[in-house]
């Protein structure tokens, strides 16, 4: 029986955690098997929660987010017979599968679309907690926007420096308002639960927004330009399924654009917002990334960003 530990944002953050939750649910429905699930309440309880999962015999145990890395590093060796999966971070242990995404590539695509959609020549970004992972999003986004329109102005703000930054919609909204006053008319939120406030404010103030992780287009139809999807759901599903089938693999798994690990979302909610031309530009860029013609800079590779200064 596999297990999933939902991280601090909560399983209905409409974003990262929710995506993982959906994947697990889909697996449950499709296979009819059960899985164990629990939700973290606080930073300091990661260890107990992981241990409890392992003690209860969950296998594999999926943990979400980079914040679990150091705890997993410590816990995994104590349970050599249990497999673990960590999303968004690499943990080098024999019984751990590390799933990382090429968020910079997906962000590049939505950056292209943002630049195309912007009328003011200013687009913006609201990040959650200020960590390299989120800068990776911002940097890819900025690069995409600037490659499309060299004159564009990209404004980026982070919500905070602690995990509460994932869950502060009020502050997200305030940041968005500030960005609007700086001229932004497309805002990209990569901020977990905080993003809810960003998208809401964008809708209230009549500008466009870009969702993240899950397809968030449905939240404010007509106001959400697209979503940068990151297939955490698929990662969870695959982990569960491979374990059930007995072919679970440990080690690093990179999910990039080419493997459709990241992408952008199109559906009936944003069909009217995305013009033919915009879609074309984005698809073109996607092809170039896949072919290697465009190299999107990965912030975490050298902790720097040519397209944006923070």
């Amino acid at each position: 029986e596999p297990g999933l530990i939902i991280d601090l944002g909560g399983k209905f953050d409409k974003s990262f955690n929710e995506s993982a939750y959906t994947g697990a649910q889909r697996w449950k429905e499709e296979t009819g098997n059960d899985y164990m699930e629990t939700e973290l309440q606080s930073e300091a309880q990661r260890e107990q929660t992981m241990r409890r999962m392992a003690e209860r015999g969950a296998n594999p145990v999926v943990v979400l987010g980079f914040a679990n890395a150091s705890t997993l590093e410590k816990v995994a060796p104590d349970y050599p017979d249990t497999n673990f999966v960590i999303v968004d971070m690499v943990v080098d242990q024999p019984n751990v599968q590390s799933v990382v995404f090429s968020e910079h590539e997906g962000s590049y695509l939505v950056g292209v679309m943002a630049a195309k959609a912007s009328e003011t020549g200013t687009v913006s970004f609201v990040g959650g907690m200020d960590v390299p992972l989120i800068r990776k999003f911002a940097c890819g986004y900025a690069q995409g926007a600037k490659d499309t329109n060299p004159d564009i102005n990209v404004v980026a703000n982070m919500t905070g420096t602690t995990p509460t930054a994932w869950n502060d919609p009020v502050k997200g909204g305030e940041l968005t308002r500030a960005q609007i006053s700086q001229g932004s008319d497309v805002v990209y939120a990569a901020a977990g639960g905080t993003g809810v406030g960003v998208l809401q404010t964008a809708a209230d103030e009549g500008i466009l927004a870009i969702g993240v992780d899950s397809n968030q287009n449905y939240l404010h139809p007509g106001s959400i330009l697209t979503s940068m999807t990151k297939q955490v759901d698929k990662a969870v599903y695959d982990a569960f399924q491979s374990a059930a089938e007995g072919n679970f693999q440990t080690g690093l798994q990179v999910k990039d654009l080419a493997s459709e690990g990241v992408g952008y979302a199109m559906d009936e909610h944003n069909a009217d917002l995305v013009t033919e031309e915009m879609q074309q530009a984005v698809d073109e860029a996607a092809e170039k990334i896949k072919s290697g013609e465009i190299a999107v800079h990965d912030y975490t590779s050298d902790d720097s960003c040519p397209a944006l200064s923070f």
Partner: protein
């Protein structure tokens, strides 16, 4: 004659208050669609039904003993220290610094070092509110609340700047292995008893010693006598030559040091690195523990174990049912409400009852 016999004051009233809190909690559980008795069973089982449960129960209890004693010592000086949270955070910082930057050869040396570090930092964080109370009359309740917030901002700042380990999370590097404290598992394994892997560690013994020392201090030492005298009456303390400034400072420093000691259990014993929030509200639980324990070390110890069980049981409850862990927060709130604030609701009628019972004159009770 006192209005109530001693046993009623120290045992009956807290128990009645606790029962009331539990009844209301039961109603809450029922309202959210769970059977309160089943929930109770899960919690009891989860807390004390296995060595795993005991391990975590006593691990949490260790935290609460430290913060509970901290609140209790301050209470004796009639200082309401709500700053346990911040003092414990700073104490954790002290423990972390000691563990990270001093190359300890063995935990037996690292532990005393960490005790000094945690106590010093915790005490230092209590010192400013104490000083402001003693010299400038700034209300310690408000200043310690403010210091909780300032502490958490300070810790975040340090954890994302100078103390931050490589990686994304705001946390320090893991401590060197030589500082790892032996756990209950290690201990019981040595005598051949299997015990689940839990973070319960040698800090529990330190907590017990702390209880004994606080008892010695409060009821056997001059300083404790002076703290209690000051707590009962400041003018009387001045009359007796007990300096209010000194007692306020000393009591708060001891209180802060005790709260800071929590770091050896939470940070050195479990996390083995400093996180942004490793106190987990234990500073506040300390208030409930001290109130329930009537500020006596034995009471504090018992109440701490009760709350430890509540925490561990609550975690299991969340795991087994749809009752979120916040249930524990609710129970804790109700315990504080009933034992601390609504005490008069139970005390009043009880006093009347005892008075009526006494009115039947008994020979020999003629007190002038």
């Amino acid at each position: 004659m006192d209005k109530l016999p001693r046993w009623a004051d120290v045992a009956l009233i807290p128990v009645v208050n606790l029962v009331l809190a539990l009844i209301v909690s039961g109603i809450v559980v029922t309202l959210i669609g769970e059977n309160p008795f089943d929930a109770m069973m899960i919690m009891v089982n989860g807390a004390v039904g296995s060595t795993y449960g005991w391990g975590y129960t006593l691990f949490y209890a260790t935290n609460f003993v430290f913060t509970g004693l901290a609140v209790a010592v301050a209470f004796h000086a009639r200082l309401f220290n709500i700053g346990g949270e911040g003092q414990a955070q700073l104490g954790s910082l002290g423990v972390a610094l000691v563990c990270l930057y001093i190359p300890w050869p063995h935990w037996t040396l690292a532990l005393p070092g960490a005790i000094v570090g945690g106590a010093l930092f915790g005490a230092a964080w209590a010192a400013i509110p104490a000083y402001l109370q003693a010299r400038r009359g700034s209300h310690i309740v408000i200043t310690t609340i403010m210091f909780n917030f300032i502490a958490s901002a300070l810790l975040v700042y340090l954890l994302i700047t100078s103390l931050k380990a490589p990686g994304m999370a705001p946390e320090t590097a893991r401590f060197p292995e030589a500082t790892y404290l032996p756990t209950a598992q290690d201990f019981f394994a040595a005598i051949g008893i299997p015990f689940a892997r839990t973070p319960l560690n040698v800090s529990f013994i330190v907590a017990l010693i702390a209880c004994w020392l606080v008892w010695l201090l409060m009821w056997r030492m001059r300083l404790g006598y002076e703290i209690r005298a000051f707590g009962h009456s400041e003018p009387a303390a001045i009359y007796a030559g007990i300096s209010p400034f000194r007692i306020t400072m000393v009591a708060m420093l001891i209180s802060g040091a005790l709260a800071g000691l929590m770091g050896i259990n939470a940070v050195m014993g479990e996390q083995q690195r400093l996180l942004q929030d490793n106190v987990l509200g234990a500073g506040f639980v300390g208030i409930a523990v001290a109130l329930m324990g009537r500020s006596h070390p034995v009471g504090v110890l018992l109440a701490a174990i009760l709350f430890g069980a509540l925490y561990q049981g609550g975690a299991e409850l969340e795991f087994e049912t749809s009752v979120p862990r916040e249930m524990v927060v609710v129970i804790q709130a109700l315990v504080i409400l009933f034992t601390g604030a609504l005490d008069g609701m139970v005390r009043g009628p009880l006093e009347k009852a005892f008075l009526r019972y006494r009115k039947q004159p008994k020979p020999g009770v003629a007190a002038e």
